[in-house]
């Protein structure tokens, strides 16, 4: 820095920023200055320059041709309802546009590299900090404004202004309460699903009820409440489904480890668990028949169906809620009640 010839020294006269922990070298290496300009082939040989110029405009004209091709392709490859037509249209129009753009780009770069002058220039930098006179002028502006308005000394005006501006924003923010519906409590909604005592377990998506005898060993049935299939989208089909989906499997009775108070929740080795992952809510749908493990494909949480769907791997923290089931008098599988705990991902108010 000491030997740096700084053309803007005069601008920085009063400003000597601290160099902090930088080491000052008393005899720093000397900058050799710009090397002599090395001529390019196009500078030395006019024929080479001509060739470069020809390349550039040829590329530009090729680009025009490619653009025309893209328009032609648009017309020549219409859509006729087949996938092949979509592919052809997309690909040929796209390739035409791509080549048109690439040709312009390559031509422009070649022009700038081979044809345009490659002389290097040196431009001085200005100090980013304003000059002292400028800064004084700026301060004078504020001083005058302060003097004329009394902003500095009239604390009451100033403070009440700040309070007013801040407060004026709050009603606008309040309006955004409308993003959520009135009169609904999200915690209550999360704590209950559509399942009720006696509601039949049915196939997803048709809603056909399932008999216990149909659930053979090694099966995995994707289940919804029978009533759900009758709901339309604007009656909340997806919202109910997001809590009510269940996976139904049958294991040999002797393989099932059941807590005392849950022995009645299964039926002859048939168990039903919520399909909503207790991690962040993806469907835990991968059932491994031999290991009786359930795997969630999103973050690889694993649950053991034979042991209360407890977590055996992955970021989930709670076992899948179990749906208590039994059969009705026609042999169809029915729920004994709703889930006894909220299904799906954890939330703050859950206890």
């Amino acid at each position: 820095m000491a030997h740096d010839v700084d053309p803007l020294e005069h601008e920085r006269a009063s400003w000597k920023p601290s160099s902090g922990l930088a080491v000052e070298v008393s005899d720093p290496a000397v900058n050799p200055g710009l090397p002599p300009h090395r001529e390019r082939i196009t500078d030395k040989d006019p024929a080479a320059m001509q060739r470069a110029v020809r390349t550039v405009y040829t590329l530009f004209y090729l680009s025009v041709a490619a653009s025309i091709w893209a328009v032609v392709a648009y017309m020549v490859f219409p859509l006729d309802g087949t996938l092949a037509a979509v592919h052809n249209n997309s690909m040929f129009v796209g390739l035409g546009i791509a080549f048109a753009l690439l040709a312009i780009g390559i031509g422009a770069i070649h022009w700038s590299k081979a044809v345009m002058s490659d002389k290097e220039y040196i431009e001085p930098r200005h100090a980013t900090r304003g000059r002292d006179t400028t800064r004084e002028g700026a301060i004078a502006v504020f001083e005058a404004a302060n003097e004329e308005s009394g902003f500095g000394r009239r604390a009451m005006i100033r403070n009440s202004l700040i309070a007013a501006v801040v407060a004026s924003v709050i009603p606008g923010i309040t309006l955004f309460r409308g993003l959520a519906p009135e009169g609904e409590n999200p915690v209550e909604l999360l704590e209950h699903t559509m399942w009720k005592k006696g509601m039949r377990l049915a196939l997803d998506p048709t809603g056909r009820p399932i008999k216990a005898s149909e659930v053979t060993l090694g099966s995995a049935f994707h289940v919804i409440p029978e009533e759900l299939a009758k709901l339309s989208h604007h009656e909340g089909y997806l919202e109910e489904k997001a809590k009510a989906i269940v996976l139904l499997m049958r294991l040999p009775q002797e393989d099932l480890i059941e807590a005392e108070d849950r022995k009645s929740w299964s039926y002859d080795g048939i168990v039903a668990y919520s399909k909503v992952c207790t991690h962040v809510g993806c469907p835990v749908a991968l059932y491994e028949q031999l290991t009786h493990h359930l795997l969630c494909p999103c973050h690889q949480s694993q649950f053991d169906v034979a042991d209360g769907a407890k977590v055996i791997f992955g970021p989930a923290a709670r076992p899948l809620p179990q749906l208590p089931i039994t059969v009705d008098d026609e042999g169809y599988l029915v729920a004994q009640s709703d889930f006894t705990e909220p299904v799906g991902p954890s939330f703050w108010e859950r206890h």
Partner: protein, 267 residues
């Protein structure tokens, strides 16, 4: 400068080079052929061929190739499960995809080059079916690919895509197991897998997925096999991971190469 030795005067290339080149060429051709024929063998699959082999031939084949692990009477041993009730369908599935005979213990039986001809497979299947009947071949209508495509695709997404991926590209299971991709699976093997639930795949009986449902699913899968993506190369249908990898390697890679070209000094 250099002394004139008793030296060959041919060019710089060694005469051994020609021999090496031919050797390499043979190796490459042979390797490609072997690989291609293995691939063809693994995928060549049609409906059960009309067989000139009998159940007795099947029994001999079974005793020679399968009984070590599955027992001479299909009763199973420590090394392999019993085959009572698996039926001709399971035999067809396992043997025609090369999974059986199993060569080594692994998290699951991988597909490998098929070791039997179609006729031999049918003989094995009919033998096993004769000894202890199980799931049988379906009516040809189920495999005809003329089902309801949209319904089949929806059922596939609900029942199959979580393991096999929405485009049938396959997926991971626990502990090193996996659901294979379905890009080359035959209609019969699709049906067979649904019905027999090989290894960790669940069983989909006809009450869960009716014959009509199965026909729809098979039709949708066959359609996906025959109709490549209209957007261009599908990058394995693996989704955002493949797309991200591709754009970093080829997209950013190309663009950085372009910046190097742009700022290089022209000669």
């Amino acid at each position: 400068m250099a002394r004139f030795k008793k030296h060959r005067q041919s060019g710089r290339r060694s005469p051994l080079a020609a021999a090496a080149l031919i050797g390499i060429g043979l190796l490459i051709t042979g390797g490609v052929y072997a690989g291609a024929s293995a691939a063809v063998a693994a995928t060549s699959e049609t409906e059960p061929a009309a067989s000139t082999l009998t159940v007795e031939d099947g029994q001999k084949l079974f005793q020679a190739n399968c009984a070590t692990c599955h027992g001479l009477d299909l009763q199973g041993t420590d090394a392999g499960p019993s085959l009572y009730g698996v039926g001709e369908l399971a035999v067809h599935f396992q043997v025609s995809t090369g999974r059986m005979p199993l060569q080594a213990q692994a998290p699951q039986a991988p597909q490998k080059p098929v070791q039997f001809t179609d006729e031999q497979i049918e003989a094995l299947a009919s033998y096993v079916q004769a000894v202890a009947p199980g799931p049988a071949y379906p009516a040809s209508e189920v495999l005809d690919g003329e089902g309801d495509l949209a319904a089949g695709a929806e059922l596939f997404r609900i029942n199959c895509a979580m393991c096999h991926n929405v485009a049938g590209a396959g997926g991971a299971l626990t502990e090193g197991k996996y659901a294979p991709n379905l890009h080359h699976t035959t209609a019969l093997n699709m049906y067979a897998a649904m019905v027999t639930g090989p290894q960790n795949m669940p069983v989909f009986n006809d009450m869960n997925l009716t014959l009509e449902d199965k026909r729809d699913i098979i039709s949708a899968l066959l359609w996906m096999q025959e109709n490549p993506s209209p957007g261009g190369y599908a990058l394995g249908s693996l989704g955002p991971v493949a797309e991200g990898l591709f754009i970093w390697i080829f997209g950013i890679g190309t663009l950085i190469a372009v910046t190097v070209w742009i700022t290089a000094k022209s000669n």
